[in-house]
């Protein structure tokens, strides 16, 4: 087991890297977080990763809650603070500084070109996130079926996905999953 200080430093370093690569938001960097914390550092199991993602989805608030939950898992409250600060801090500072000049660049051609060039990259990343999270989450055929049913329900209908989460939680509680 590594020391607490070293763990905090590693969390800070990896959250910083992931935050500045999060084009399109948190959903784009789930595979990188899985690669870093589950595969390389082995600080969490697949199951922990899936559980923290699910808890972050089921709880209210920004969908980045998997980040402080990983921080919590590794280093307690200090881990929560360090991971959140390093994940939210750099983009916040960046946007604070850019904001004043944004009016000048909003309609600039390079801005439009950069943004439309990054959109397909973001889409590829979110598709990869779907695969990585499903592989970490689905340990049984019933789980795979729940994933597919939730995806279909959310994609094809306007039913609030909270119902799908609640139904799946009940099925799990009943020991079916």
């Amino acid at each position: 087991m590594i020391g607490r200080g070293e763990a905090l430093f590693e969390i800070a370093r990896h959250c910083l890297v992931v935050s500045v690569l999060a084009v399109g938001g948190t959903s784009s960097v789930l595979p990188e977080m899985h690669r870093t914390f589950v595969e390389n550092l082995q600080w969490l199991s697949d199951r922990d990763f899936a559980a923290y993602y699910a808890i972050g989805q089921a709880a209210p608030g920004p969908n980045m809650m998997i980040v402080p939950l990983i921080g919590w898992h590794v280093a307690g409250l200090a881990g929560v603070l360090v991971s959140t600060l390093m994940f939210c801090g750099p983009p916040s500072v960046m946007i604070y500084l850019i904001a004043g000049a944004w009016d000048r660049y909003r309609h600039a051609r390079w801005r439009i070109v950069v943004q439309s060039g990054l959109i397909p990259v973001t889409i590829g990343l979110v598709c990869a996130s779907a695969l990585v999270v499903a592989q970490a989450s689905d340990a049984s055929l019933v789980a795979v079926a729940i994933t597919l049913a939730t995806a279909a329900l959310t994609f094809f209908t306007r039913i609030n996905p909270l119902w799908a989460l609640a139904a799946a939680a009940l099925l799990g509680l009943a020991g079916v999953v």
């Binding site: 994940f87 939210c88 916040s92 850019i98 397909p120 999270v133 989450s137 939730t150």
Partner: protein, 195 residues
């Protein structure tokens, strides 16, 4: 024919730039942070544009486009921008803390419960069900994002989506390297397409 009476002309147009103070920023974002789940952007829009009328729909779209341009969690960036706009640096910090504070506390409580009771069969099952549905949600998001790429003028994007998906999702390559290669290609293609 009697025409429908319009609004009396003496009335001023609805104000769309109410100036929130620090307390208002904090508690409004606190409310946004505690509403919805897995993404609170629609709630932020409802609060700022429709309910409190801090800004017009156009101004919201403008702020959102900046949030999407800069990496990082979009809603956090938005709280920083809105706080900055009305109350400067202190406003940015207050709005951001208001947004993230309560969900953070809640997430830690849930995480601690999972750590203590995760081994119980009932909790174990509940988490398995939630996780399976949660991965369905992100799959639906991916499908929704893919849909517009099948329009004729946007199909070039698939040239990027497929290798990025394969590199990150299947081969599990490091994100930094993949972005360093694919982002310039994407920007180059977008530049060539909009010539």
């Amino acid at each position: 024919v009697i025409s429908e009476p319009g609004p009396p002309s003496s009335e001023p147009p609805p104000a769309v730039s109410n100036q929130p103070g620090l307390g208002d920023l904090f508690f409004s974002f606190l409310g946004v942070g505690l509403s919805g789940f897995g993404g609170v952007l629609p709630w932020a829009r409802r609060m700022m544009v429709e309910q409190k009328q801090w800004m017009s729909a156009e101004e919201f779209a403008e702020i959102l486009s900046l949030c999407q341009f800069v990496p990082g969690p979009n809603i956090v960036s938005m709280s920083v921008l809105v706080g900055r706009r009305y109350q400067g640096l202190v406003g940015a910090i207050v709005a951001c803390v208001g947004l993230c504070g309560a969900p953070l506390v809640l997430a830690v409580i849930l995480g601690a419960l999972y750590a203590h009771y995760g081994e119980l069969p009932a909790v174990n099952g509940l988490i398995s069900g939630l996780a399976a549905a949660g991965s369905g949600l992100i799959a639906a998001t991916a499908l929704k994002m893919l849909e517009p790429l099948f329009r004729p003028h946007a199909r070039w994007g698939l040239v990027l989506v497929v290798p990025v998906f394969a590199a990150i999702g299947v081969l599990r390559l490091p994100l930094l390297g993949v972005i360093a290669v694919m982002a310039p290609i994407g920007i180059g293609l977008a530049w060539w397409k909009t010539r």
